[in-house]
């Protein structure tokens, strides 16, 4: 078994709007801190060469589970047996690498994934070649297309040679050709025994690549089949969009009343 969790639970801190009387002046801070358990009593395991897609219905922060799976977050309850080497791949925000060249960004991403300088030096060419940035290594990343940051993030993770890779919104990135390349690389790594834990907002990817699905819903966290997970993702996105629309409408109405 590559990864196993038994009765695992994670406590997080959430900021909640403070309850106050309608006409009372604001004296104290706007938020109060509350503790919540987005994951509790979770039993989960991942075999070598398996891909699990994650959907978080509680906090909408699937990165929480991905961090748990890669060991950057320790559980408050239960036990976790982690793989020896793992990587949590997230595309860097533009601000994080804005002033660097493409090559430096690649080094920075690999460094953030935990690869030591010597390892990066050894695999740099392989990563650059995979990310298709060999010819623009010395150009500022800011001058490149937005997808280059994601390509670099994917390449650094895919060439890290770890037992487990967790992709947060960067499992299949770039243009159509690069997306196919990503899918091929993932299939190749799966064959070699690498496990994947993935979050993606794209339901199409789930059906194509996932072996299993995991829905995080606090104590009701459960496993579902990939098709069901894709359906839940579509419904969840639709519901959130609707909620957001209603919220905006309410806000507009309130502004009009004032």
């Amino acid at each position: 078994m590559l990864l196993s969790m038994s009765d695992a639970g994670v406590r997080v801190v959430e900021l909640r709007e403070r309850n106050r009387g309608r006409n009372l002046p604001t004296v104290l801070g706007r938020h109060v801190r509350e503790q919540a358990w987005p994951v509790r009593h979770l039993d989960f395991s991942l075999k070598r060469g398996e891909t699990v897609y994650v959907l978080d219905l509680v906090t909408h922060r699937p990165a929480l589970f991905l961090r748990l799976a890669t060991g950057t977050l320790r559980p408050d309850e239960g036990t976790i047996a982690l793989p020896r080497r793992s990587v949590l791949a997230r595309p860097a925000g533009r601000r994080q690498v804005r002033s660097l060249s493409v090559g430096q960004s690649l080094r920075m991403m690999a460094g953030l994934y935990g690869l030591a300088d010597k390892t990066i030096d050894r695999r740099f060419e392989e990563m650059a070649e995979f990310a298709e940035v060999t010819r623009v290594l010395n150009r500022p990343i800011e001058s490149q297309h937005r997808s280059v940051v994601a390509q670099v993030a994917f390449a650094a993770a895919a060439c890290s040679r770890t037992d487990l890779i967790a992709f947060d919104r960067c499992a299949v990135v770039g243009d159509k050709a690069f997306r196919r390349k990503c899918a091929r690389k993932i299939a190749e790594l799966k064959k070699a025994g690498t496990g994947f834990v993935v979050y993606s907002p794209d339901p199409k990817q789930i059906v194509g690549m996932a072996d299993r699905g995991l829905v995080i819903a606090g104590p009701d966290t459960r496993e579902v089949n990939p098709a069901e997970l894709a359906g839940m993702l579509v419904a969840d996105k639709k519901e959130r969009r609707e909620r957001h629309r209603r919220q905006r409408q309410r806000q507009r109405k309130q502004d009009g009343d004032d």
Partner: protein, 266 residues
């Protein structure tokens, strides 16, 4: 030890982070990195105008020229104040990256403190230019053996800034109000350190107590390059070094105890 080894193994990544922060910060301004030198220079000139010209007094400070005495205090103070300011902002500014990266949490305090240190190093040509200029016209100051103490000062200030940064970052996890207190701490460091005064303004029995402020000993190390006669008993520097190490250890312990809490916010 394993954290130190990890940091050493990732020094290239750390250097890139520092480079990114410096370029991003100064890239916003028309005069770019020149501001590193411009700000302390202007501040020292204003103070010199106020104290030496308007008040007609250098507060009993005999080190000549007074403007260089001021600037050798102000530039290191800038490094210290920036570290104190940014500590409590760590979680808010670097949180998402900090919680998902496979690097020790201390990487981020170290990154910010090193950026501020680079600011000081980049600003130091101002001191050299002023010293050469004054030396050509007035014959003072001259560089003595005390210049060997400058790296010692830099090392201890790095430890002090790192300690203060980590204390601020750790306390702000539960109490964001710490962010508002940094200006008070900075003001205290300004008035309690010999930036615009000298320990010679005080009776001798008080001197060891003044060195309880670790920045006092550090400033003496820098200024010894021009005025070795400023140096006092070695026990005073041992006091400053001891307090610096105590602050660093407190910062490390606090940050370690808050690391898991930090990771729960995102």
């Amino acid at each position: 030890m394993s954290t130190a080894q990890t940091l050493l193994d990732h020094r290239g990544t750390l250097a890139l982070m520092v480079r990114q922060d410096l370029k991003q910060y100064y890239g916003r301004f028309q005069l770019g990195i020149l501001w590193v030198m411009g700000e302390p220079l202007m501040q020292a000139l204003f103070m010199w105008i106020v104290f030496a010209l308007i008040f007609g007094s250098t507060k009993g400070i005999t080190q000549d020229p007074f403007v260089i005495y001021l600037i050798t205090g102000l530039i290191p103070l800038g490094w210290l104040q920036r570290s104190v300011n940014q500590g409590p902002k760590l979680l808010r500014r670097s949180g998402p990256q900090l919680v998902s990266a496979k690097l020790p949490v201390i990487t981020w305090p170290l990154r910010k403190v090193l950026v501020a240190m680079m600011d000081m190093i980049l600003a130091s040509p101002v001191i050299v230019i002023l010293a050469v200029g004054f030396h050509l016209f007035t014959g003072s100051p001259t560089v003595g053996w005390g210049i060997l103490l400058v790296p010692v000062g830099v090392f201890f200030q790095l430890l002090l800034c790192l300690g203060l940064f980590m204390i601020g970052a750790a306390l702000a996890v539960h109490l964001p109000d710490v962010e508002n207190m940094t200006s008070l701490v900075n003001r205290a460091f300004f008035w309690l350190s010999p930036v615009i005064w000298s320990q010679r303004n005080f009776p001798e029995w008080l001197t060891p107590w003044l060195y309880l402020n670790p920045f006092h000993g550090i400033l003496d190390c820098y200024r010894a390059a021009f005025w070795p006669d400023l140096l006092t008993s070695w026990t005073n520097y041992a006091i400053s070094a001891g307090v610096t190490i105590a602050i660093l250890i407190t910062g490390l312990v606090l940050l370690r105890s808050r690391t898991d809490e930090m990771r729960r916010y995102f």
